[in-house]
């Protein structure tokens, strides 16, 4: 099994309190779908809206997310899956892909000496 971070991108500001009942219903079904496809969610977090974010670059502190964009990171979870094909199948079912998208990124495993 490999581990991937699945980064959830939603239209800014991605406020979890604004989630529609439809979206919530899809989210409720998601963990069962993940298991069915042969994956496992190790852990996951939703974030406060991007309006609450603060970016730090060198000495400069600014209001807002690190990269200004139409879509912002709304949350992420750690997914365990046998390979990328399974991870991508799971990613495609995530409701965020309807109006935003997800990034599937393998976790770094330090090489043995």
């Amino acid at each position: 099994m490999a581990q991937y971070a699945v980064l959830i991108y939603s239209p800014a500001p991605a406020d979890p309190m604004e989630i529609t009942p439809d979206y919530l219903a899809l989210l409720d079904r998601y963990p069962a779908q993940v298991e069915e496809l042969g994956g496992k969610i190790v852990t996951g977090f939703a974030l406060q809206p991007s309006t609450t974010a603060t970016a730090v670059r060198g000495d400069l502190v600014t209001d807002g997310p690190f990269i200004e964009a139409k879509e912002v990171v709304a949350g992420f979870f750690i997914l365990e899956a046998p390979d990328l094909d399974v991870a991508l199948k799971i990613a495609k079912l995530n409701p965020a892909t309807i109006d935003g998208g997800v990034e599937v990124r393998p976790l770094f495993v330090p090489p043995a000496e």
Partner: protein
């Protein structure tokens, strides 16, 4: 060892490189669990073959000899790196693949197909898919790939390395996709092979119109795919398309390397064997009733190939095929080609209206064939000033020398005070 023996061994190794590379590498990759290691071991096996075959004679099955040698080398590497590998298996072979008999009749258990599908995985960028396919499936050296795509060797080497690293780090599996995913995944493979072909057929830049090595690689690769997936109509369609298009190779330029249009080409010099094979493949693809984009394109090429002359081509039927193709594959490039057929049925004015409608499509911005076709229609409509303007626009966009020379000559004709009959 005799010189004759050495020469025979060299020939046999070169031959085995061309024919068996994909087979040897694909089988070795499964043992090695890592494409880099596999590639190195296969390379070593070919080097070892030179000396061994010169000494002992060429084995009856060179591919089997090479595979056994490369696998043995891979196992040695694995033993040396055992600790590392137990922590991190690099090439994921899904468990189901260990039981090919049980995994159903829908998948074809050939290692070469795994290799092709891994190289053309949608998680890799198109240019990486192309580079990996040439490097790993066709065994083309990184330097030669770099030259074919006119980038520097370090750039191409970095592209290949990055792609191989992603396969390992993101665990892109080494397997043939399951039946449900196959159409979409196969389409990516065929797109890569078709791209190889078109890059060779009309080199996007540079001095020569055709890069024969790329064309031959693409045809060879498609033949391999058809042998491995004989029931896929689109593979058949693609092979037909390549054969029918390439049948015109010898006639596409004159002795001086100048480009000749379809209308000007000597049809008696077209490769009749290739055309016959292509036609049979198109028929076969259509008979399956599952006609796709490549079979339709091949049918179009086939109509051209059997026409006695440009004027006597079945243009109305071509328009119908283009309409069908647009249904399957709504590309403005297809619309542009359809406009040429329209010009032969309804005249250049009707075609010009279609081309002008297509000009608004942003996907055709910078596509030099659009102003070139527009220029030709305006020339036929006896509107020389506008034709000249369109030729100039096309010239500003074209990057192939043979095509540039053709457009320059046409521009000169249009701007000449006493025009010859068109």
């Amino acid at each position: 060892m005799s010189d004759a023996g050495t020469a025979a061994a060299e020939r046999a190794v070169a031959d085995a490189h061309r024919r068996e590379w994909a087979f040897v590498l694909a089988a070795t990759a499964r043992v090695a669990g890592d494409l880099d290691v596999a590639e190195e071991c296969v390379q070593d096996a070919y080097v070892a073959a030179l000396a061994a075959w010169a000494r002992d004679g060429v084995p009856e099955k060179p591919g089997a000899w090479l595979t056994a040698t490369a696998k043995r080398k891979a196992i040695d590497v694995l033993r040396r790196e055992k600790v590392f590998r137990s922590k991190m298996p690099l090439l994921v072979e899904p468990a189901e693949a260990e039981f090919p008999e049980e995994s159903g009749v829908d998948v074809v258990p050939d290692d070469r197909l795994r290799l092709v599908f891994t190289c053309c995985h949608p998680a890799l960028a198109r240019e990486a898919q192309v580079a990996l396919t040439l490097r790993l499936v066709c065994g083309v050296s990184t330097g030669d790939i770099a030259r074919a795509f006119l980038v520097s060797e370090p750039t191409m080497a970095a592209r290949v390395t990055r792609a191989k690293k992603k396969i390992a780090a993101a665990r892109i599996p080494y397997r043939v996709p399951e039946a449900a995913e196959l159409p979409e995944r196969l389409d990516a493979v065929l797109t890569v092979v078709h791209l190889l072909f078109t890059t060779g057929h009309t080199a996007p830049t540079g001095g020569d119109l055709i890069r024969a090595d790329l064309v031959d690689r693409a045809v060879h690769l498609t033949r391999m795919l058809l042998a491995l997936m004989p029931d896929e109509p689109e593979v058949r369609g693609l092979l037909a398309l390549l054969l029918l298009t390439d049948a015109r190779r010898a006639t596409r330029t004159d002795a001086a390397g100048r480009l000749l249009t379809l209308e000007q080409q000597d049809r008696s010099a077209w490769d009749r064997t290739a055309i016959a094979e292509g036609n049979a493949l198109v028929l076969g693809a259509f008979r399956t009733g599952r006609v796709g984009r490549y079979a339709l394109q091949a049918a179009i090429a086939s109509l051209h190939a059997v026409a006695p002359s440009y004027a006597a081509t079945d243009w109305p039927q071509l328009i119908r095929l283009y309409d069908e193709l647009l249904n399957r594959w709504p590309s403005p490039v297809v619309g542009l080609n359809r406009a040429v057929a329209v010009s032969m049925v309804d005249g250049p004015a009707a075609a010009l209206a279609e081309v002008d409608a297509l000009a608004a499509d942003p996907r055709l911005a910078g596509y030099h064939y659009l102003p070139a076709i527009r220029a030709d229609l305006l020339r036929r409509l006896d509107r020389p000033e506008e034709a000249a303007d369109a030729y100039r626009i096309a010239l500003a966009l074209v990057a192939n020398d043979a095509e540039r020379a053709f457009l320059t000559a046409r521009l000169a004709e249009t701007t000449r005070p006493a025009r010859s009959e068109h």
